[in-house]
Amino acid sequence: MEIFGIPHQAFLGQLMLGLVNGAFYAMLSLGLAVIFGLLDIVNFAHGALYMVGAFAAWIMMDSWGINYWFALVLAPLIVGVLGVIIERGLLKRLYGLDPLYGLLLTFGVSLILEGIFRKQYGVSGQSYSVPELLSGATNLGFMILPNYRAWVVVASIAVCLATWFIIERTRLGAYLRAGTENAKLVQAFGVNVPVMVTLTFAAGAALAGLAGVLAAPVIQVTPLMGSNLIIVVFAVVVIGGMGSILGSVVTGLGLGVVEGFTRVFYPEASNIVVFVIMAIVLVLRPAGLFGKET
């Protein structure tokens, strides 16, 4: 069987790979969107936090013998704590200034984190095997689907939905959104806004960490894994409309798939197709697909 003149195995395989990549784009841009939408910070260190999450999981499993499921919970927690340190220790001092300073500061933080891991582990890749439960593959008849990849896609969509639900449909989410509109007023109602802000940043960071843990078995864990991904994620965020939660999830998944398609038909362009789309979208709709015109 062939689809558009391409053997369907190759076609569906790339599509699936695209969907997995898209799941990571979605989760990472979601974390960025949460932090930006609620705190007005562009977290350049997001890629580095993703890398730290992957390393944390790898160290736990490889050196300490902790199993995958514990690592899946512990690593994002560690990254979340790191997020608290970054927000309390550094970013807090920049509130009220031009958001560009936040971008520059977090860029510095990402250099520090990357440098430390590069010193410690070199640039060669590490990886670990997937847990028993998720190893193997399922024959869907039209293609062989590795179980772990299916798990990544399902898990990331679940996380995205949960995040959307918390922010848009719960009381906590309402406080968060109100706090960004008028922090003083919300504080007058007895909500501790600074703690809320810190926890939001930590949650965004934890999302990046979780994406790192999920990614570790699929890709090589290296200190540089975040720095190259973060720019694609920035492009995703720009296309989706900065701060839009729906936008980041839909665009993330969609662009992963588009990238997969491109890899089938014209592999040379697969690395840049996201940026080309970004340029086109910006020319036609400067606020992004789901963004509000400011």
């Binding site: 500061l105 510095g108 520090i112 990357e114 590069r118 010193k119 492009a235 965020v237 996201v274 940026f275």
Partner: protein
């Protein structure tokens, strides 16, 4: 969304105040003396034992930082994609000189023109958004250029472009000698520095500064703000490209490092460290960063990235005006007190 956030921070920028009222008044004497002293130092640098190749590298990056600062410091646009102009022009010049035997002056010119065209495309897409969006868009576009350089046949991929010959300038002046090359680089740098000084103090430069300080007012006064921003972007990109081309001739190679986005981060650091919106700041910043990298590379190895990151964080947290900016602010305070 200009980077110097308060009017006070904006005024920390070097001496444009007298020029604003009397465009033809020239530079204040103290500034002129400083410039001439530095020029004198640069002229005798090889004679007093400073290694010419290091000095040339420093000047190339200083030019790069000045070009970047023209955009950030005087127009208020933070580009996170200037490595694209620097690196792509480095490749273009290297390739034309190496594979097509172009003369160095034509190679440099080609690098400048290519960067200008690339800047036109980037600028056209990016100036539709402001502030952090602008930064992220320029970053993403430059990553596109990075992948083009990684895959295009003329760049040598992962290996880069090696063994570029400097050749003879205008067919007579052999650039093989490092000292001759040094003075050529110095001449180009000084010409560009004076050019930037001239641009910023011109009526055009005043409009750019108005856009930085209050874009809405510039629009309401009837200025076509987008066209001014685009022109500033193209100018900045061209000079950044020239810096890259010059770097290729000096070092005799062009690699992916030149076009990687971390280079965009480095040039931001240079400007920030020296002083955004000052003339000498980027030069000093480039000097410090390049010297640090040269000195530390063999001593601390991988820690260089960490140290650069820490400097970055400290700059943003503690002295946002940069070294020259803080110095000028201090002089200013002392003058008003006296």
């Amino acid at each position: 969304m200009s980077l110097p956030t308060s009017p006070a921070a904006g005024q920390a920028a070097l001496h444009p105040q007298p020029a604003a009222t009397e465009p033809r008044a020239g530079l204040p004497r103290a500034v002129l003396i400083t410039y001439l002293a530095l020029l004198g130092l640069a002229l005798v640098a090889p004679a007093i034992g400073l290694y010419p190749v290091f000095m040339m590298k420093l000047l190339c990056f200083a030019l790069f930082a000045c070009a970047f600062n023209l955009l950030l410091g005087f127009t208020g646009l933070l580009s996170f994609g200037h490595a694209a102009f620097f690196g792509f022009s480095a490749y273009v010049t290297g390739w034309l000189v190496k594979a097509h035997n172009w003369t160095p002056e034509l190679g440099l010119l080609a690098g400048l023109v290519v960067a200008a065209l690339l800047g036109l495309v980037f600028g056209f897409v990016a100036i539709r958004r402001q502030g952090i969006y602008f930064a992220m868009i320029t970053l993403a576009l430059s990553q596109m250029v990075f992948f083009l350089c990684l895959q295009a046949p003329f760049t040598g991929g992962e290996d880069g472009l090696q063994g570029v010959m400097r050749g003879k300038l205008f067919g007579v002046l052999s650039l093989v000698d490092d000292r001759v090359m040094y003075y050529v680089v110095l001449a180009i740098f000084v010409a560009c520095f004076v050019g930037i000084l001239r641009i910023v103090t011109s009526p055009f430069g005043q409009v750019l500064k108005m856009i930085r300080e209050n874009e809405a007012r510039a629009v309401s006064l009837g200025y076509n703000v987008d066209r001014y921003k685009l022109l500033a972007f193209v100018l900045s990109a061209s000079l950044a490209g020239l810096a890259g081309s010059l770097k290729t001739l000096v070092m005799k190679f062009a690699t992916l490092t030149d076009v990687h986005w971390t280079m965009s981060g480095e040039v931001i650091l240079m400007s920030l460290l020296g002083g955004v919106g000052t003339f000498l700041g980027p030069v000093l910043g480039a000097g410090i960063v390049i010297s640090l990298q040269n000195m530390l590379a063999d001593k601390v190895g991988e820690w260089v990235t960490v140290i650069i990151g820490v400097i970055f964080v400290l700059c943003v947290l503690a002295f946002r005006k940069g070294i020259v900016g803080e110095l000028l602010a201090w002089l200013d305070r002392r003058r008003t007190r006296a």
